[in-house]
């Protein structure tokens, strides 16, 4: 029904938008427009971004003061043109796809005309560049949840087709009232291997593997906690998790809200085939907190972050995580006998979180912050890139903002990545995309396109959380899932 509701929304918003602006819309280029030397004010800021072929129309709102009408012309550097009338620059999905595909490797030049007080004004044209790199994934999955403190209301995991505006629910907590769903993760964007965690009275860990769906007991008695922050081994046979004793504290100063911290955490690997938890004393230590594990693309290494455990709440600013690695033998399920520190962030007075290797093995992207690991609540959180080939370690200045950037990941060809950012208003996280070429140059990020972005994002009272690319739609029978969740039928995990 959510798919139908998204169609209703698209239709109704389109009709309303067209009615509001279309009745007096200018259908051809205005003559004698007064030239303005600056760029037009548009939302989102799509000027100078690089987009993939197949992306949904990059509709944008013209947000000039006292605008009465608008006209937009787009010219492809290789071929074709499009136009749009009205305050919302919007393009037909099929026409847009054809137009962008024709101009692959080139650019789209946007000319914007705005009518104010009866006069037309034209602005400095801007370009969108069409990348030569494909974005092969069908869409994205993400959780939509309010940026709340301890209590949550409506939430769910959703999927969005990136070539249009269709969004549908995979599972919402209206299906099982009171449940919290999170940590949904597929294996290298392929949802044939998929996991997510359910918290609440009917807790469980869902694992899809080899065509089989299993609902694991949420907590293992020996572990003492739930399995969270999953990341699949490329073989699909294993999935790395951490188990965390998580708490919150609340700031009293303006511009700060929450500090999420762990009193302890350990990393483990779950052998999906044998339903066994694999652990090691090197990744489950008493005095250090190991967290956010990820496998290398070749599956031979397990990266994670590790910090000397501090005493909370007094020493919360001293908890600093380094980026570490331990080898892993997929054939035996054994770990190496030493842990390497790749980046000693603590000695720099910083903390690393959310390492994400590119699938081509070239980079590790991570978030750098002042302390802690829950980056979404830290304004200073920025994306950094470790080049495993050259050893270069640098901030992504073209991508970062004054607000938090975090929860990033790559597409399968490793030329596109997304991240969540609070740059829009400082509280509600949104998804941004950027590309990286063979020389490591990143492009200006663009906001996830919407049919009418200004209205959509203004009204959206949820944050995008732990998004990921998905190669194809996730198929989950939500009704059946709800019944299983409520049934409390679970499979035990063992050591």
């Amino acid at each position: 029904m959510e798919k139908i509701s998204s169609i209703y929304t698209i239709v109704s918003v389109s009709v309303l938008s067209l009615l509001i602006c279309g009745l007096s819309a200018c259908s051809s280029r205005p003559n004698d427009a007064i030239l303005q030397s600056r760029l037009p004010h548009i939302y989102p800021d799509y000027a100078g971004v690089t987009i993939p072929v197949g992306i949904a129309p990059m509709n944008f709102n013209i947000v000039e003061a006292d605008e009465e009408d608008a006209y937009v012309e787009v010219e492809g550097s290789k071929s074709g043109n499009l136009k749009s009338t009205g305050c919302l620059a919007h393009f037909d999905v099929n026409e847009w796809h054809d137009f962008v595909a024709q101009n692959r490797g080139g650019q789209l030049l946007f000319k914007v005309y705005v009518k104010r007080s009866g006069e037309w004004y034209s602005y400095r044209p801007f370009s969108m560049y069409v990348s030569k790199y494909t974005l092969g994934e069908w869409g994205m999955t993400y959780r939509l949840v309010a940026p709340s403190y301890e209590i949550f209301s409506k939430m769910g995991i959703y999927q969005r087709n990136l070539s249009n505006f269709d969004e549908e629910a995979i599972l919402e907590n209206t299906q099982v009232p009171g449940m919290c769903i999170n940590c949904h993760t597929s294996n290298r964007t392929n949802p044939d291997a998929f996991t997510f965690h359910v918290r609440g009275e009917h807790g469980a860990t869902f694992v899809r593997y080899n065509g089989r769906d299993e609902w694991l007991k949420a907590k293992n008695e020996k572990l003492g906690g739930s399995m969270v922050y999953p990341y699949w081994h490329p073989s699909g046979r294993y999935c790395a998790f951490s188990t965390n004793d998580t708490h919150q504290m609340f700031h009293s100063t303006p511009h700060e809200r929450i500090e999420v911290y762990d009193k302890k955490s350990d990393v483990l690997v779950y052998d999906v085939a044998h339903r066994r938890i694999l652990t090691d004393s090197l990744i489950s230590t008493k005095d250090w907190s190991e967290n956010i594990p990820v496998f290398s693309p070749d599956g031979k290494s397990l990266y994670f972050v590790s910090a000397r455990q501090q005493i909370y709440p007094e020493d919360y600013k001293k908890q600093r995580y380094n980026l570490c690695r331990i080898s892993f033998d997929a054939a035996t399920g054994k770990f190496g006998n030493k842990v390497d520190t790749l980046i000693d962030a603590a000695s720099m007075g910083k903390s690393i979180t959310w390492p994400r290797p590119s699938y081509d093995g070239r980079y590790i992207m991570y978030t750098l912050m002042d302390y802690g690991y829950f980056s979404v609540w830290h304004n200073e959180s920025d994306l950094w890139l470790l080049d495993l080939k050259t050893g270069e370690n640098r901030p992504l200045r073209d991508v970062n903002s004054k607000r938090s950037e975090s929860l990033h990941n790559w597409n399968i060809n490793s030329h596109w990545f997304f991240f969540t950012s609070r740059r829009d208003d400082g509280l509600y996280t949104r998804i941004y995309f950027s590309s990286i070429d063979d020389h490591g140059k990143v492009t200006k990020p663009f906001l996830l396109p919407q049919q009418n972005p200004l209205v959509y994002y203004r009204r959206l009272m949820y944050s995008y959380n732990t998004p990921d690319f998905t190669l194809k739609p996730v198929k989950l029978n939500a009704r059946k899932a709800g019944e299983v969740i409520e049934s409390d039928e679970r499979i035990e995990t063992r050591f």
Partner: protein, 459 residues
């Protein structure tokens, strides 16, 4: 007067009943109306409407919230409740007289209305339910007599009306199938069975389309504020209505050697006695004390709070918080005493109203972040996932004082799509557009000026 009453007895009793209902909500329980209003936020935009077309009963919820937004104006809210309850009475009478009964049965039509009045004593029974049953009763007023037309009518109710107004349509379906039908005619029985079957199939199919379990669809989504659990009286009420309608012809046959007018008067007196006994019992609930305290905090009636606490010492955490705040505002409690109380209050079990109180206390002692936290928690606490105009307003204020103008703007834009918060949102938006004016504001200026920038962590 006596001439009017004997000439128009039905109208007079209906008006008298309406006046009693109005007075009840206007003067005795106005705070319950305010409570209902603050637990939702009706938005005048297309997305909000579209959201309610995607599950069964969505239109009932939409219209219910549409009506409850007017509870911001207490007299208007009392009028809406009066129209709803007397509407039930009038519709029941319209249905009863289709069975060719005499006016002596008029008092019988008050029983369902009284029943609804009692059901509404549960503050978690929502206007969604009231809208659904009013529409269901309306459907029952126009049942076609011809079998084929009746079948089509039943199919319409069992599908389209079910999708719009939810499981309450079982009431007209059962009525048409079992009460209205001629039980000696096979075709009528078949039509009835088809109708009930189609409703059940509609519910089953809905569970595949909408993200709600079948159990919740069968209970009626948003009839009751809590997704888990239900108030059994919602369903017993529907059964009561069917019983009253089914028994009307039976009561009609009871032979009593007194005039119709006398029977009418006696019947009405009987109803009045039942009202007089049952209503106080139904509405004598501890939760109303908490709701009243919250209302007085919202309307800043500090001395009234203190007076109420003098009559009976506060027991609940909500009441304690309200009284502490009132005493502090009236300078009967020092700053130090209030801080000590707040340390204790932070460890109290959290309910929707306690969280509301904590937000209010922290706001007034200029602990803006803490107020913001509890205001946000208050929104998330609402069990049926609605927003709250009161709390969204508070979030706009806290973000404004904290200098988070983009977030403040977002909340103000939301409130600009309401009737009752729009004017305040428009005025406050001026402060977001011109932040230099904040320091001149009588409330936000001092709050901004004395905002502490020393970070103290709350656990």
């Amino acid at each position: 007067m006596k001439n009017i009453m004997s000439k128009y007895p039905k109208q007079c009793f209906a008006i008298l009943f309406a006046i009693c209902v109005f007075a009840f909500w206007m003067f005795r329980f106005p705070f319950v109306l305010a409570y209902q209003e603050q637990m939702q936020l009706f938005l005048w935009n297309d997305s909000f409407l579209m959201e309610y077309l995607t599950f069964p009963g969505g239109m009932a919820s939409y219209l219910g919230q549409f009506l409850v937004q007017f509870f911001n104006n207490i007299p208007l809210g009392a009028l809406i409740m009066t129209l709803a309850i007397t509407g039930v009475q009038q519709l029941c009478w319209r249905i009863i007289i289709r069975q060719q009964v005499s006016d002596a049965l008029y008092p019988l039509s008050f029983l369902p209305a009284l029943g609804l009045w009692l059901v509404m004593s549960d503050e978690d029974v929502l206007m969604t339910y009231v809208v659904a049953i009013l529409v269901s009763l309306l459907m029952m007023c126009f049942v076609p007599r011809r079998p084929l037309v009746r079948l089509l009518y039943l199919l319409l109710i069992s599908t389209a009306v079910f999708w719009l107004f939810g499981i309450a349509v079982l009431m007209p379906v059962v009525y048409i199938g079992l009460v209205f039908a001629n039980r000696h005619k096979a075709i009528d029985i078949i039509i009835g069975v088809i109708g009930i079957g189609v409703v059940l199939v509609s519910a089953y199919v809905s569970a595949w389309i909408a993200p709600y379990p079948l159990a919740r669809i069968m209970k009626g989504i948003d009839y009751f504020r809590f997704p888990i659990g239900f108030d059994i009286w919602l369903y017993l009420w529907m059964a009561l209505v069917l019983l009253v309608l089914a028994l009307s012809p039976v009561v009609q046959k009871l032979s009593v050697p007194i005039s119709i007018t006398t029977r009418l008067i006696l019947g009405t007196l009987l109803v009045a006695i039942v009202v007089g006994i049952s209503l106080p019992l139904a509405y004598d609930r501890d939760i109303y004390d908490d709701i009243e305290y919250d209302f007085m905090v919202r309307t800043q009636r500090w001395q009234d709070i203190i007076n109420k606490s003098a009559e009976m010492a506060p027991v609940s955490s909500t009441a304690e918080c309200a009284v502490a705040l009132a005493q502090w505002k009236e300078q009967q409690m020092t700053n130090q005493q209030l801080l000590m109380f707040m340390k204790r209050a932070n460890r109290m079990p959290k309910t929707e109203l306690t969280v509301m109180m904590l937000n209010e206390i922290y706001f007034r002692v200029n602990m803006v972040n803490a107020s913001q936290r509890f205001a946000f928690e208050g929104v998330e606490f609402i069990p049926n996932y609605k927003k709250s105009g009161r709390l969204i307003k508070r979030l706009a204020e806290t973000n404004l004082v904290n200098g988070e103008y983009d977030v403040a703007r977002k909340y103000l834009q939301m409130l600009q799509e309401t009737i009752y918060y729009r004017e305040w949102a428009d005025e406050t938006m001026n402060l977001v557009d011109h932040p230099q004016l904040i320091l001149q504001h009588p409330l936000y200026g001092p709050m901004r000026k004395y905002l502490s920038h020393k970070d103290t962590m709350f656990i």
